[in-house]
Symmetry: C7
Subunit: 74 residues, 7 copies
């Protein structure tokens, strides 16, 4: 068993585009700027997708407790 | 890994307009007046938006545990 | 960062009319009589509103963990 | 700020009829017999109301974590 | 204020038939055999009722965190 | 009041077939192989039932916090 | 009673394909790369299935608190 894997993944993806799946079938994509141990994320150039419709949100703070999946987008 | 990023973002936005997405597809916009470590927010000139309908709420206290996303509105 | 902002707001509104938005699209209005650190509220002259229908409840105790928004009503 | 207001209200209403609103739009009325610090209640002569239909339940134990509102019924 | 009332009620009903209302409009009835401080219950001769249809379950362990109401059935 | 009753029940049923009711009206049946104090279960020969349709899952790990009822199946 | 069974199962399946059932009827399959004590999982070659439709997600981090069932896929 290794240390908290969420920190590992988030550290590797600072400055890179990630996709986040949230509870309630929301999807957010953006550049990961910062994060903390609660999986709270600061994103830049972020957009929200619901039923394939994009709405641009710019910079945002996303609370960690709503996250289901984080996937790096290269 | 940095300190709690929510405090950083909130500190930078005191006196500025922010948009908050809440659980249950509610959106609230207003001027951030104060906040605490539980992400409880005091807003002035606040409005709530549901299905694109604005209802003015004036000053309000918003409990942090319902927040999904906070986005600065310049 | 300041001390718990919920206490500040509640203290200022004892004896005054407040509007409370609860989970499940319930709205309660009433005179704030007392409160505690869990945001549990005692209201007098309270009414509940659902789909714009008022039902008078008189005095009541409202548990803090269902509250989303508290807004002073002057 | 005062001590836990839930205890105050419950103490005053032992032996009296109270109305309890629960999550999921359930309403229970009954005589408050006992309570504890978790807001667990023992009621006698209790009835449950859903969509205005009464079903008599007699004595019951109601777990505190489902309670939204408690209102004394004189 | 008395000690935890849930223990009192459960102690008095060991060996007796109780009705339990669960989240999600499930009802379970059975003979209370054992319980613990988390309100986990062991029932014998238990049945589940949903929309007035009984399904016999025999012996079962019921987790306390889904319980809303417990009512003795004499 | 006795020790945690969940451990008692689970201990007695290692190697035996049990039925588990989960939140969201899912039912899982299987042979209980192992368990821990969080009620996490390892089952073999497991199947899931939803609306009376069986889907075979083989070996699985079931997280304890979704469990409502556990019933031994002899 | 044994030690936390989730760690046992996850350890045995590093490098192997697993199926994960999540709250909200989501299914994710992928190769388990890493995990931690919160059941947070890193998967490679992952796909999500909803209503039998596959969407490829590649590498991802899956938060443990949404997991209901983990089943090894050989």
């Amino acid at each position: 068993m290794s240390i908290d894997v969420t920190v590992q993944v988030l550290k590797e993806n600072v400055g890179k585009k990630i996709m986040i799946k949230l509870k309630g079938d929301k999807i957010v994509k953006g550049i990961l700027e910062k994060f903390d141990q609660h999986m709270n994320l600061i994103l830049s150039n972020a957009s929200e997708y619901k039923n394939n419709q994009e709405s641009k949100l710019g910079n945002l703070l996303l609370k960690g407790d709503n996250i289901i999946i984080i996937s790096p987008q290269e």
